[in-house]
Symmetry: C3
Subunit: 352 residues, 3 copies
């Protein structure tokens, strides 16, 4: 049958491995587009001399751009028939990607659980992205709700993987070559370093960004994520949303870009511990971001860098100043919260 219809729940087998088409070479063109699409200003991805002064051989491709491209590769095999993207965990950024690198992805089914209504089930996959040298650059787990082709089809016994609440400090991949001791804060204009953030601190990022149809669809096409909910207005008009949905990963990227002001020296993302897209985002929505500092970790063997575990809350159509504290306690999300992301960044430390 051409074309392939995507996998249904019964097509997944525990332990089976999927090679995802199509490898993708990332270039300076993708990086420029990523800046234009998100407004990102993180120094490591913007300025080659700054990256080289930190020990990188070149300006690395933005962590989230790599993530979206790798994630997009898994969509046709994993989530084309997904009813919902339920979550991700244990996302670890293991090696930098540079312009010219080619990314491919593969997944292994690590959990399956039929829903009680027998019409769908939850599929857990561990996905890995490799560069052209076969080095693992990114690994992550996600789980999606996938329709069954037939409610009568038998289901395997339920297997639900154990997933860590957060990637622990000792599992963060801190590049051996990275030297932050001489990091020059004049590059970012912000003097706040790891030492200057306090657990529980809340940062209301001042900028807002209104999303329009063309920019979210350009981004999602750049990532070669072909989930139809983002592109096909005619089909979406018949859905409960009534229109095209903004890809949740693009919301993460926009919020990370908005969170630059106040986190200027967060050099790289080391891990995404978990995250939920708590409400849909549509074109016309204005996004804002709030950060809460969740944990501060020293890193084994490093006194030049520390890790901050952050909560990034994405808002739509509500300026941060109007968001109550505590934010969404117990997971009670008002309609204005679109993203609740738990992630970990690397930041230079104040030298003794």
């Amino acid at each position: 049958m051409k074309p392939r219809a995507g996998r249904f729940f019964e097509d997944f087998r525990l332990g089976s491995r999927i090679d995802h088409p199509t490898p993708r070479t990332l270039t300076d063109g993708d990086s420029a587009l990523y800046i234009a699409l998100t407004g990102a200003r993180q120094i490591l991805h913007c300025a080659t001399p700054a990256a080289q002064a930190l020990g990188y051989r070149d300006r690395p491709i933005d962590d989230l751009l790599v993530f979206h491209v790798a994630f997009g590769k898994t969509v046709p095999d994993v989530s084309l028939n997904a009813v919902a993207n339920l979550g991700y965990a244990d996302v670890r950024f293991l090696a930098p990607c540079y312009a010219g690198d080619t990314i491919r992805a593969e997944s292994e089914v690590i959990g399956l659980r039929e829903n009680s209504n027998r019409r769908s089930g939850i599929v857990y996959v561990r996905s890995n992205a490799f560069n052209q040298h076969g080095e693992l650059v990114l690994t992550w787990v996600r789980w999606v709700m996938v329709n069954k082709r037939s409610a009568d089809a038998p289901a395997p016994p339920p297997v639900v993987p154990q997933l860590p609440a957060a990637v622990p400090a000792e599992q963060l991949a801190v590049p051996a070559f990275l030297r932050a001791a001489t990091f020059d804060t004049r590059l970012t204009g912000a003097t706040d370093l790891w030492d200057d953030y306090e657990i529980g601190e809340r940062i209301d990022h001042p900028s807002g960004l209104t999303v329009d149809e063309s920019d979210h669809t350009l981004a999602t096409k750049l990532y070669q994520n072909n989930a139809r909910v983002h592109f096909d207005e005619l089909a979406m008009r018949k859905s409960s949303f009534g229109r095209r949905l903004v890809y949740g990963g693009h919301v993460i990227s926009v919020c990370r870009a908005l969170a630059y002001d106040g986190l200027e020296n967060a050099l790289a993302i080391a891990a995404i511990n978990g995250g939920s897209h708590t409400n849909p985002t549509f074109a016309g929505d204005t996004l804002y971001a709030v950060t809460e500092v969740r944990e501060k970790w020293r890193l084994p063997g490093r006194d030049d860098l520390g890790a901050l575990r952050l909560r990034l809350v994405g808002l739509k159509n509500l300026p941060p100043a109007e968001l109550e504290s505590p934010i969404a306690p117990g997971g009670a999300y008002p309609p204005s919260i679109v993203l609740d992301l738990d992630y970990t960044v690397l930041m230079p430390r104040r030298l003794p």
Copy 2:
């Protein structure tokens, strides 16, 4: 007179040759934009290692991106005063273009025929695009209806060139270096090869893409095609369309990208045999694509590759499943069909 007003029908002379300004260097930036604008996923243009495994020295620039840029060069000289783009024929892709190559174009007037109302005429041009080494990379014929400056102006005797209905297999430029025998279908995730397509087969491509104003205008500006109908909303409000028109070439690109699912191993476009833009496309329209397999050709001296002559039908606001068969028999096009393109692709063959 500054600026130049574009040629009218009486300004074209049979046999005259036009050097088109402005040469254009294509880069990885253009390729990244092309992916973002169209959602293209063709492996040859996306992944350097895959292209190199096939014998290319690098990832070639997408065939249609080269076509649009070369075509755009001819617009100021050929079609700025065109009433209609009537068709093209004998479009042959002769050599790959790579990032860093510079494309220039020239045309020769090969036919002229005044219309009976004496107010306009049809101009046929053979256009050629060259790279910076002077190699011919692309050649094509198109014909346009162009206004006369004055109905009283005398017209030359009518000359209408003979054009082939299709580029025959023996005229397709198959690169000598291209080696498809070891092509790894895991790269595309689709096992269907040349042998697996049948003449008359219809493929309903599953995805749809809604076009917005910014994405079609960005694309057309990228191609440096300055035809005013695509850009000037104020002027177009007074036209019979009432608004900006989407550049037909961009419709081709979007439909080719949509047609990836079901034609994953169509590596490269070897020729466009002909095509019609049968209805206008506007921002807000959702495009879909249907392919019919028209012919299957063996290629002289090659058992690793074959050619498929395909019909690519572009739809607006009508999912493929709702399109009747046979599609538009005898050229009777319903309003939902926007494109009827006849083109030829190269695809690996199943080895004996």
Copy 3:
């Protein structure tokens, strides 16, 4: 305090120097986007062989793209709390930038004048942009009206710098390597050279370009200009504009691109003498451009190149043919004029 709130009038000290974050590496990706965003066709920035034939080592990055990126760097420090961008002067393009170059900017406060209402003041800064080798590539003066934190705060004695009405011919930076004697006008298709323009001549550029939300916001994010007026629809709905404003620099770029037809051989911008954004531009507006030739200058020691001082008038929703002459005499601008820019270009001369 995180994040920084931007400087208020009392935070500026005469003579103080500001290092602006964040350096930015420019690439072929930025250049491709610039073409897609503006429709620019200037030969020097489009075709490597043409640039090299003129003596450049590579295709230089578009002058205005460099300007916007450098300008964007100054926004967080200079104009985040600006009420209005009042003007710029003495903008000199001193050295070409190439793909791979990294731009950083710094500013010096050269003038301060409190307004009579004591609630705001005018800040004059001289800004300089450098490449990664420390070469000064661009210098400019601008002045902005900035709010005071408190009306009661004392103000320094007023200092208003003397600014030239235009950069004189002998201060224009004409690259020593640039050789225009052999410039081939077939590259641009226009035979008009410096000799063929007359002082007082008016050129009505034929094309119009309608701006949409996504394209102006993509451009402004590409420039990493984070002024909130361009991005935050929710906040702007409460402003007197009622919606997002198009960044004035993007209007300059679009008008410069529209002015290609009629000024095809204007190779590079040597200076911007001054300019005013005389009315706001919003998404949905269609931009047009008119040029007036203001002065013609011979350049010291050069008979291959001359300078033209031009007035570039940007119009919205009014085709040039409907614009009266003289244009806005005495600075009386009708609502349809959005830009009045005084700039100087380098153009090849007809050889003796």
